[in-house]
Amino acid sequence: MSAGHLTPATIAAFADHELAAQEIAAAQEHLAACHACALAVLSATQLKAATARAAQRYTLSPEMRARLVATTRGRTSSARTVPMRMYTWAALAALILLAVSVLQWRGLRSTASPTVAELFDQHLAVLPETSTPQVLSSDRHTVKPWFQGKLPYSFNLPEPADLPAETVLQGADLTYIGGKPAAQLLFLVRKHHVSVFVTQRDAIVLPPSQDRNGFHLVSVQAGALTLTAVSDTAEAELRAVLTVLGHAQS
């Protein structure tokens, strides 16, 4: 190309509207006289136009547009999940894992108190028909003395008449909670077995109430004693039994 011709860069810049006003004037002056350069500019312009036409290839569907507009309004569209890159998935998975473990940990921790677990287990142990209480009696004057010498403390039992309706004392077992001896009183409340554990107040620490697999645990303080009822019956009925027992201690 002779020095007079437009450089390829100038030709491109001309087609791309990147030339300054005076450069345009100079270029146009040359183009008016030079067929080769005029062809080159025409060619560049045509290629540019064809590229633009071909590149405009993908159109936005109305639904997509609506979803995207919703984004600018600061709403996440429910119609589509948010973008997920690989590491987002990883982060999400990690988060779910963490949440699950925390929940599990909390769940475990809530019954993590080995004492609570023991009480549930002790109650489950007396449920089978084959298990008979060590002291089989609904008479408080039989049951209470039976524990003498077996427990380092004493407790009172209410009169049968004082118990809530359809609540019967069936007997009792000597059991061990947290390595310490305790009384497990066995009641029948509307055909539901209820265990009431009598422990020394400072011997074990219990939550006021706890649910596990459909069984409830309710615990109250009565003087120096802790009374804890475990059963699958309604919590209110357990509280009723415990209230009566609690009164008997004072």
Partner: protein, 217 residues
């Protein structure tokens, strides 16, 4: 000199004269998936202002995203992410500058953190050559070329065959009609590199569009 600048990541300096927060919202963080706009107190006017500027660009952003991602769902996600980031960073947009260039830059940076871009980063790109190219020899008269250029499917096919950096620069210039300077800002490369890439892109396109019968340059 500039190796594979197409995929250079990290935080570019603010280009559009936005002091301080110029690149806020541009650098993709791990919140890529979140299109929840953090409850910031956008003034009503500000959000309305954003929509006035952004909505006319939706179609262009999506079309460009499709060329970048080559996948419909991913492109939509990219545009969604772009809008969220742009809205959050709207304070850093300088009125009077080209909003289109600003939001395209945000989209490109969001794209660089996407799976597709990361996968492509394994591809080695040619070094950008700053020197001028030989002028394409006019193997075809413009009239002949016109016949081929008229075949949109053929041109689309040729565009699809270009390397991503060349296609990207060509789209920004020819379709989006952004200036060299604005493209340089979006791609984080010098203006000279924009020009040389454009030149290479067009040369490659011409070659792809040459008729098969021994069309030497």
């Amino acid at each position: 000199m500039a190796f594979a600048t197409f995929l250079r990541r990290g935080s570019p300096p603010p280009v559009f004269g936005a002091g301080g927060g110029g690149s806020a919202g541009v650098n993709s963080s791990a919140s890529a998936g979140s299109s929840k706009i953090i409850a910031m107190d956008f003034g009503r006017r500000s959000r309305a202002g954003f929509e006035d500027l952004a909505l006319p660009q939706l179609a262009a952003l999506y079309n460009h995203a499709r060329w970048l991602c080559r996948d419909e769902a991913e492109a939509e996600d990219l545009v969604q992410e772009t809008l969220s980031k742009a809205l959050r960073a709207f304070d850093s947009f300088q009125p009077g500058t080209n909003f289109k260039a600003w939001i395209f830059r945000i989209q490109r940076n969001a794209f660089l953190n996407s799976r597709t871009a990361i996968a492509e980063s394994r591809t080695v790109f040619l070094e950008d050559q700053e020197e001028a190219f030989d002028p394409p020899s006019l193997g075809l008269t413009p009239e002949q070329e016109l016949i081929r250029l008229d075949n949109i499917a053929l041109v689309q096919d040729a565009l699809a065959q270009l390397s991503p950096p060349l296609r990207e620069v060509l789209l920004l210039c020819d379709l989006e009609e952004l200036s060299y300077k604005e493209i340089a800002g979006i791609l984080d490369i010098p203006t000279g590199t924009v020009m040389s890439r454009l030149s290479r892109a067009r040369q490659a396109l011409r070659e792809l569009l040459q008729p098969r019968f021994g069309g030497s340059r």
